[in-house]
Symmetry: C2
Subunit: 411 residues, 2 copies
């Protein structure tokens, strides 16, 4: 499959991808777009011109601040819609070829938070990450807690402070406890960290009291994003017992602007790791529910010098998205269109595949050398952290773009 | 101050109260109402008749599924509005006296979830409760954790499953760990509990990166509700280390339908408990920030026989709402109109003032005798739990009504 558009072979936004996002140009209203190569196809424009076969589509769905109303149409509408867009971009007789105004250069557009986030939950589903954290903070010989292999551990997070890639992040202030002291001090966090995660977005709601079965869970998943769960380790350490992370996390999280659909990720499905001990029946699943997605973390200094900190992969996840959703709802908890679910930090087995500074520098004991000769234990002011993600197989490339954020000094 | 309406002296909804809620009658659209005695004043109707002095008010604000658009007008509008309503209900020459259709009997109306809940956070701010839990599950000699007196411990909760009083609650299923075993089992929770809490609702947003000062926090608080943070203790126990409560809580929480404004609660302000050690400067506050609100918990059996399980009081709170909000935002976390913040279980010093079955029955070791001769360690199927709350002083009574929920068997 090839588009009549000029798309670079290594573009994240190939004709096989077609992720959805929200953009604006200048003072124009926000609208729904699809990323293709270096451009954005304006879906409000496409609908206004009457180019879709589905004439019952209300064009207002594409002139929105968020993707939620479009996702609410359901996969029976959005999946064929994406296929139609693909046809319009492939067919040599496509009417789009004579409508250059419907294509906006990504450089000329502002990309916005793509979804109105209803609830946000973060999981903790990478065995390597949970093991590293257990070794660092608890017992190296019993690094995984007793419940970890029986259920996808998760906790609720803050929806209000999730921002789109490119938004600057102010270093948070808070209480921390100096080594060996019993009284906390107040000031800017000194242990700023990123967490390399992906997130998935809900496109179909469920009812309170009705669990979602593991093998039906993907019907509810619209697509995936990159997700940086910024963490202030010193604030987190002092506050998190017994009720979990709070101010150490909720000052900000960053998501990538384009939602890559599950349909686009289909060629990259792989078998997940063997789960032993055997999971309870409600967590059993059939088929390939993991995805082979390369994930990179880059640190860019104030001067713009970039160093790759980590190369990980989403297929390392012990618990898959379907299991996470089945577990989350097994008690009757309901989900809504616009919910976001974070994977938890995705660490691989190798030391250069860990998904946080905490693990990469082993709690600051092994600083990372950067390309400019300086080193880092944690993130410094004016450092930019960039998450990247892409899947690639047999010449098909489907990428996520990036989730980027620069740390600014505390005010 | 006395209304020309016939209002019982012991009504929660006196002329001094005037809480806001969302109601409908039959198939009518949802709209904003104010509770007065046994009736509801239809504010959409009042605005449609042009009875408010403020002629710039858009009546559509009162024909809504939620109070959020009305709260968004700001206190500079809503506080005088409430005073105008009070005048209309007091003045002997009030035009309302000739408009009986604007009053709906509460028995004839459906009361709905009053706010579209954006984010929900639960605190853990009763010293007595935290001490009881520490004694039960950790070290009786060091019941409070080291951070507890330095910061109002809080954690994020689930917004989607918060329901209005009167909604039945299905007993959740989940993983639990049998005593002395290492493998979990799956089934209905056997340790269903309530948590007696209040909640406060945000009427004014803040910006990401801009902390709210403790002495400005009340500007953001529209009002308060009763809040039952239903808890499945056996599910919670197995899942909650290290990231906090999750499925043990998020199957449902119940709020009362009427939001009692901070203005109505003004006569009941009291000094909070002395905080020692001294708090950090960002948690210091001036004036009376606690409120003397009586809180009762009643268990009603399937046959309708009611037993009061607990009598507590909101003034027992160690950390006040202003401190909770100052702490929540000190790292830059932003708040939104419609956010809900739970107090945490409110236990008093006496054994009959504890705010959960866990504490009242001391983890099931001291069952409670009910009026029908049966006893309870935890909540049984078909039991109804009713939270009630009211403040009373010098003949002025301001009440919350109730937050009621019946436990139905697992499906």
């Amino acid at each position: 499959m090839k588009s009549w558009l000029n798309i670079s072979d290594n573009s994240d936004f190939s004709i096989h991808n077609l992720p959805f996002g929200i953009f604006s140009v200048g003072a124009s209203k926000k609208r729904v777009g699809v990323a293709i190569g270096e451009q954005i196809l304006d879906l409000y424009g496409v609908t206004s011109k009457g180019l879709f076969k589905n004439k019952t589509l209300d064009k207002k769905v594409f002139l929105q601040d968020y993707l939620n109303p479009m996702m609410a149409l359901g996969k029976s509408i959005t999946v064929p819609l994406r296929e139609e867009i693909q046809n319009l971009l492939v067919s040599t007789r496509s009417p789009l070829r004579k409508m250059p105004k419907l294509f906006i250069n990504q450089k000329d557009a502002s990309l916005h938070l793509p979804i109105k986030i209803t609830d946000y939950t973060d999981f903790y589903s990478s065995k390597e990450h949970a093991t590293n954290v257990g070794k660092l903070f608890r017992d190296p010989k019993n690094a995984l807690l007793p419940n970890w292999k029986h259920l996808p551990v998760g906790y609720h997070g803050r929806a209000s402070s999730i921002v789109v890639s490119g938004t600057d992040i102010i270093r948070p202030k808070g209480q921390t406890i100096p080594m060996g002291k019993s009284k906390p001090i107040f000031g800017p966090s000194r242990l700023m960290d990123f967490e390399l995660e992906t997130g998935f977005v809900i496109g179909k709601k469920s009812e309170l009291g009705k669990p979602i079965k593991c093998n039906k869970a993907e019907e509810h998943i619209f697509g995936m994003v990159l997700f940086n769960d910024w963490s202030a380790r010193d604030i987190q350490k002092w506050e998190y017992v017994p009720l979990g992370p709070f101010l150490g996390k909720n000052f900000a999280s960053t998501i990538s602007p384009w939602i890559v659909t599950l349909e686009a990720l289909k060629p990259f499905r792989v078998q997940g790791p063997k789960q032993s001990p055997k999971v309870l029946p409600y967590l059993e699943y059939r088929g390939k529910k993991n995805f082979d997605i390369n994930l990179d973390v880059v640190l860019e200094t104030k001067e713009g010098i970039a160093t790759t900190l980590s190369r990980s992969n989403f297929q390392f996840m012990y618990w898959n998205m379907s299991q996470q959703l089945a577990h989350h709802t097994v008690n009757g908890c309901n989900i809504n269109i616009g919910d976001l679910y974070g994977s938890g930090t995705i660490s691989g087995k190798r030391k250069n595949s860990y998904g946080s500074m905490l693990e990469l520098t082993w709690r600051g004991t092994k600083p990372i050398k950067l390309k400019d000769g300086t080193s880092r234990k944690f993130i410094q002011d004016h450092d930019t952290i960039i998450l990247k993600g892409y899947a690639e197989k047999k010449g098909i490339r489907v990428g996520f773009g990036e989730a980027r954020g620069k740390i600014l000094p505390s005010k």
